[in-house]
């Protein structure tokens, strides 16, 4: 058992799957049996679909075990460590065993995620052992100039990963050019896209990388203080950030005269968000940090000229910042070797929805959606057919199956009507109703609209009303044109990005799934059998045993029949609540 390393993946997804219990149990065993192994924790390798994960590294190779429970982990210890027989049936990734699961990790290029799932995020030493804080140290020891740092970032082609895709180097240049005594660098960790978790995993798995990215930014732009605005729904990310900041301060990497350089003062504080999607927008985020209602304002002035406390400020996304130390260390061309002409480097995606291997992946730009979903994600479960991929959340759109060859880069994705967004990728199959999805997003944006400008405030409300009508079978065919017109108006006239992109989910679903809208409107049918009011329930006579359960649960007494006799649904009285369908023990109720 020489040099055996046991690692348990303890991030939010892992904990939700029971990784904490696995770790505790292992620790008990290791202590009790006095095993000569090194047991440690890490966070977020990204294989959320196989969590809890336990990695065993021995002299032969690496073995990642998935779907662990305390009992199974004990079995692994017994068989793998004591008898030297790996339990192959639970191995989800190994350099010793061939399996299709390997592709989930092997097809990735991990730059932003380089340390996620590798180091213990609560230990600064481990980050340093993996080249941590080397980038900033080399900048300082070589006395690299501001222009030099910014030029490297510009040459790398890195673009903002928060959704906008603005060239990072250029943004830094703007902020650097505004001379001021006080200047801020802000990390946007608000991650509002419902269905995305890239930034959470990064903060939980490698908080020091984000801090180092900010310190480099501070050096390049002359920022005097940093703020990380993190959403309150991410308690573990906030906790680990605070631990990391504390450790960095103790080491003299944050505070006054940091890294021993006289006059280089820089500190970082974490601000907890209070639950408002619009606060992901730069000017709203600044208002929120200042303690105001998070309402966007007109730009210009851009934050680079007048941001937090009216001082020049630069805002970057978590993933953008995590890339920075790597780029400085490996050089601009090492980063730019990946990707397409206009979109360089890699992008992290959060795979979720109807996909076999849901989790976090980092892929080179220019890879096709098909490859991401099928090769890494393992395709759609239960032999269902893929219908669309949603990119960019409430600001994005649905890319249909026939466009799955679309390359993942800013321009190609935008050409479909969706946007690259921050990296949320939700897969939808034949059981997903596209009208319902559009309604879902509009419901979200309507609730999250701050109410400042009319087009967004009233426009999203009207669009939602029309969409709700359609899903309830009350739509008329003119509604489609009305949605298109309203959508264009809202895009053109809204104050901030929230309104300017809110119609995208509707416009793309109309563009690619008009037939589904028409089925709802003309035939009063929901092809995916999702929209409740359009469903039709019927009792299958051959299967009905007359147990009376359905009649009892029916809230409108629409079901009648004698005990032990076939029952019937009175379609006039039925309100399509689905209770009978849920409660029937004999699958005797059909829904269409």
């Amino acid at each position: 058992m020489e040099h055996i390393q046991l690692t348990v993946d303890i991030g939010s997804s892992g904990i939700a799957s029971g990784a904490g219990k696995v770790y505790d149990h292992l620790r008990t065993i290791v202590e009790k049996d006095n095993l000569a192994v090194n047991l440690k924790q890490t966070s977020g390798i990204g294989m959320c679909y196989k969590e809890p994960l336990l990695e065993v590294v021995d002299a032969d190779g690496t073995y990642l075990y998935g779907d662990m429970t305390p009992e199974l982990a004990e079995e692994v210890i017994h068989s793998h460590l004591k008898l030297n027989v790996p339990l192959k049936q639970y191995v989800v990734h190994s350099n010793r065993i061939q399996s299709d699961h390997n592709r989930f990790l092997d097809d990735q290029i991990r730059i932003a995620l380089r340390n996620c799932g590798v180091i213990d995020p609560e230990k600064i030493d481990e980050y340093e052992q993996h080249n941590g804080y080397k980038a900033i140290q080399s900048i300082l020891s070589e006395n690299l100039s501001t222009e030099n740092i910014i030029q490297t970032i510009q040459d790398s082609g890195l673009r903002g990963r928060g959704g906008g895709g603005f060239p990072t180097g250029l943004k830094w240049k703007f902020a650097a050019n505004n001379v001021a005594i006080e200047k801020y660098i802000i990390c946007n960790a608000d991650e509002g896209d419902p269905g995305a978790f890239m930034d959470r995993s990064l903060l939980e798995g490698d908080p020091h990388a984000v801090l180092e990215g900010m310190i480099i930014g501070a050096r390049a732009m002359g920022a005097t203080a940093g703020v990380i605005y993190c959403r309150a729904e991410y308690p573990l990310a906030i906790k680990r950030l605070n631990i990391a900041i504390h450790q960095a301060r103790e080491k003299g990497y944050l505070g006054k005269n940091i890294f021993g350089v006289t006059g280089f003062d820089f500190n970082i504080n974490v601000k907890e968000g209070a639950g408002a999607f619009v606060c992901g927008e730069e000017t709203a985020l600044i208002a929120s940090i200042e303690g105001k209602r998070g309402m966007p304002r007109k730009r210009p002035p851009f934050p680079a000229a007048s941001g937090l406390w009216n001082k020049p400020s630069n805002i970057n996304n978590v993933e953008t910042l995590a890339n920075i130390p790597w780029i400085i260390q490996h050089g601009a061309s090492a980063y730019a070797q990946y990707g397409t002409e206009k979109s360089k480097g890699t992008k992290v995606f959060a795979l979720a929805g109807k996909i076999n291997r849901g989790g976090l992946v980092e892929v080179p730009m220019g890879i096709s959606l098909e490859e991401v979903v099928n090769n890494l994600g393992g395709g759609v479960p239960n032999n269902k057919k893929l219908k669309a991929v949603q990119l960019g959340g409430p600001s994005g759109g649905c890319i249909p199956e026939h466009l799955m060859h679309t390359k993942v880069d800013y321009e190609s994705v935008t050409a479909t009507g969706a946007i690259m967004g921050s990296g949320g990728l939700v897969v939808m199959d034949e059981d997903t109703c596209m009208v319902d999805v559009a309604r879902f997003f509009l419901d979200f944006t309507r609730k999250e609209s701050c109410g400042k400008c009319t087009f967004c405030r009233v426009g999203t409300k009207r669009m939602l009303e029309i969409l709700t009508g359609i899903t309830e079978g009350k739509g008329v065919i003119e509604d489609i044109d009305k949605l298109l017109e309203l959508g264009e108006q809202i895009k053109k006239n809204s104050l901030c990005g929230l309104g300017q992109t809110a119609p995208n989910p509707v416009l793309t679903t109309i563009k690619y799934f008009r037939d589904e809208y028409e089925a709802h409107i003309i035939d009063k049918k929901c092809p995916a059998a999702v929209c409740k009011q359009l469903l039709h329930y019927e009792i299958i006579e051959d299967k009905c045993t007359g147990c009376t359960v359905c009649a009892k649960v029916c809230p409108t007494n629409a079901i009648s029949g004698e005990r032990k006799q076939v029952h019937y649904i009175d379609q006039e009285k039925c309100i399509q609540c689905g209770e009978c369908f849920n409660k029937c023990n004999f699958d005797a109720i059909s829904v269409s």
């Binding site: 997804s13 939700a16 419902p194 729904e233 619009v278 795979l351 849901g358 999250e448 405030r457 849920n582």
Partner: protein, 172 residues
């Protein structure tokens, strides 16, 4: 729209006897002078009481000089703040995109049935408050819900009901 119309409340502020306002003192002392302290103060108060008692607004305004209107404006803007007492366990059912396409509606309905309350309400015994939220960041485990600091994934109606029933049993 985040701006909610609020009924004017003509009642007197809650008397200090109901909530112990002195619990806020350390918080106010540390944050009183800080720039941008408004939201952290409200967050701190909510951490103490679980919600923002009406009387706390007056105390904050008195002692920090922040305007009541600003406090109330911020408290009603952000989804995090609550103006009513909540149950001991807050059940947050995720309705983010991934959870929505994996039928989060069923989880909410199961919770409503099991707890006997509607979304946004609190049980009479003050044990549970039911809320829906947009994304808990565990989308690969959808559908997901969170109770306290604990997140539960890959739920169905039955397993979700079982979880709250067990919490209820342990509370008794």
């Amino acid at each position: 729209m985040r701006v909610k119309r609020v009924e004017p409340n003509t009642k007197q502020p809650q008397t200090a006897s109901k909530v112990d306002l002195s619990l806020m003192d350390p918080l106010i002392t540390t944050l009183r002078k800080k720039r941008g302290n408004l939201i952290p103060i409200l967050q701190g108060v909510q951490r103490i009481y679980g919600y923002l008692p009406e009387a706390s607004f007056y105390k904050i305004a008195d002692e920090t000089g922040l305007k009541l209107a600003d406090l109330y404006g911020v408290a009603t803007f952000y989804a995090q703040f609550r103006l009513k007492p909540v149950g001991k366990n807050i059940v947050k059912v995720c309705h983010g995109t991934a959870c929505h396409v994996q039928n989060a509606g069923k989880i909410s309905r199961s919770m409503e049935d099991t707890l006997g309350i509607k979304d946004g309400e609190t049980t009479e015994d003050m044990l549970f408050t039911l809320e829906s939220v947009a994304c808990l960041g565990c989308c690969s485990l959808a559908p997901v819900m969170m109770i306290g600091d604990e997140t539960y994934g890959n739920l169905d109606q039955k397993s979700a009901a079982k979880i709250v029933k067990e919490i209820r049993r342990n509370e008794k």
